[in-house]
């Protein structure tokens, strides 16, 4: 009697865990398939028998200018300190070049396109040129006018 009972319990456990294991294994596989991002397999471009054009027309992908925006300071601002931090946004990882009457700066925008650079100002009017060059060598320019003055205006 005890022998049969033990056998029944062991068999029951084996069947129960076996079924459960199989069920969750199948379920997990389905979930993994859902969560896996769509992987685009790179394919080779079919060979073009036509000879390459000596003057390829610019495509829309490369003709668009990279964005360039300065969030701080605002254009025509009067700054009362000799240094100011320019904060702005451009294309991700683009090269930013800032030229001022005193110095030239270069830096890279981050993955979000944000950049920040402290610059020295010349006393008086400063014509600051900003240039961005993206990964496709496309350029965009922006001019920023800042005046460094300690004159009390209030």
């Amino acid at each position: 009697m005890i022998k049969e009972l033990s056998l029944a319990i062991v068999l029951g456990l084996l069947i129960g865990f076996g079924l459960t294991g199989t069920y969750f294994y199948v379920k997990q596989n389905k979930n993994q398939q859902k969560n896996t991002p769509n992987i685009v397999i790179p394919t080779t471009v079919p060979e073009n028998n036509n000879p390459p054009s000596p003057n390829p027309l610019p495509t829309s992908e490369y003709s668009s200018l990279p964005q360039l925006k300065v969030n701080y300071p605002q254009n025509n601002d009067i700054i009362s300190t000799s240094k100011v931090t320019i904060k702005g946004q451009s294309s991700p990882n683009s090269l930013i070049i800032i030229t001022t009457p005193l110095k030239n700066y270069h830096l890279s925008a981050d993955v979000q396109g944000l950049f920040s650079q402290e610059i020295s100002l010349e006393a008086g009017y400063n014509d600051i040129n900003l240039t961005t060059i993206d990964e496709n060598d496309q350029e965009n320019h922006l001019e920023l006018f800042i005046t460094y003055s300690t004159t009390k205006l209030e």
Partner: protein
């Protein structure tokens, strides 16, 4: 007896299935984490935009331009094609190119001035007007990105072909003041630059055929 055994077998199987199903549940599925990340990112972006939107406008501004009209205490200015009107403040000061104080009567239409202003109660007051030479204030630095077509280490002259204009050739001259760096800001010598290399060159725009290179940034 056999019925009892089958009943126990059924109970044990059912119990083990129930226990396993409870323990197999994941407390934080990956989908939920991803959704949570997206929500947080959206909130952060929203907050950043709000902060940007609430940015205060600096009441102190300076405008470089040409006087187009001067009547009593009203000044009209043309600055880069934009027209501005200011009320000349009673305590305004006027300065000529020699940094000497002048009177308001010395100001004339057509003069190039830098006007320092203060916005107060929706009126923009001209607080200081300086007569300037705009050509001296213009940033004359140019930027070119291109490939080095030719290089002479003996004369320190190199020819750059801009990527956006293959038919153009820019002849540049390097001197002791020229800063040569990599994109990562590592210092280089002129001899490190090779023909065919892609660079960004900051140079001064002058009337000569050879432009002085102020800064060279190597890109490869």
């Amino acid at each position: 007896m056999t019925k009892k055994i089958f009943f126990i077998l059924f109970l044990v199987s059912g119990f083990s299935f129930f226990v396993s199903s409870v323990s197999a549940q994941s407390p934080t599925p990956e989908n939920d984490i991803q959704k949570l990340r997206e929500v947080i990112q959206q909130k952060v972006q929203q907050k950043l935009q709000e902060i940007g939107g609430e940015e205060k406008i600096n009441p102190k501004k300076a405008y470089l331009g040409t006087i187009t009209k001067l009547e009593k205490n009203n000044l009209s200015l043309d600055s880069n094609g934009q027209k501005y009107e200011f009320v000349i403040s009673e305590d305004a000061t006027f300065v000529n190119q020699k940094q000497m104080k002048i009177k308001i009567t010395d100001l004339k239409e057509g003069q190039n001035v830098l006007v320092l202003t203060l916005a107060k109660d929706k009126i923009v007051y001209a607080k200081k007007i300086l007569i300037v030479d705009p050509t001296k204030l213009k940033n004359k630095k140019n930027i070119a990105i291109g490939k080095i077509a030719d290089i002479s280490t003996t004369t320190s002259v190199f020819v750059l072909i801009p990527v956006n204009n293959n038919s153009r050739e820019l002849q540049m001259k390097q001197d002791s003041k020229t800063e040569i760096v990599t994109k990562d800001n590592k210092s280089l010598k002129f001899t490190d630059i090779k023909k065919g290399q892609k660079i960004v060159c900051i140079y001064t725009n002058n009337d000569n055929s050879t432009y002085p290179a102020l800064k060279i940034i190597t890109l490869n």
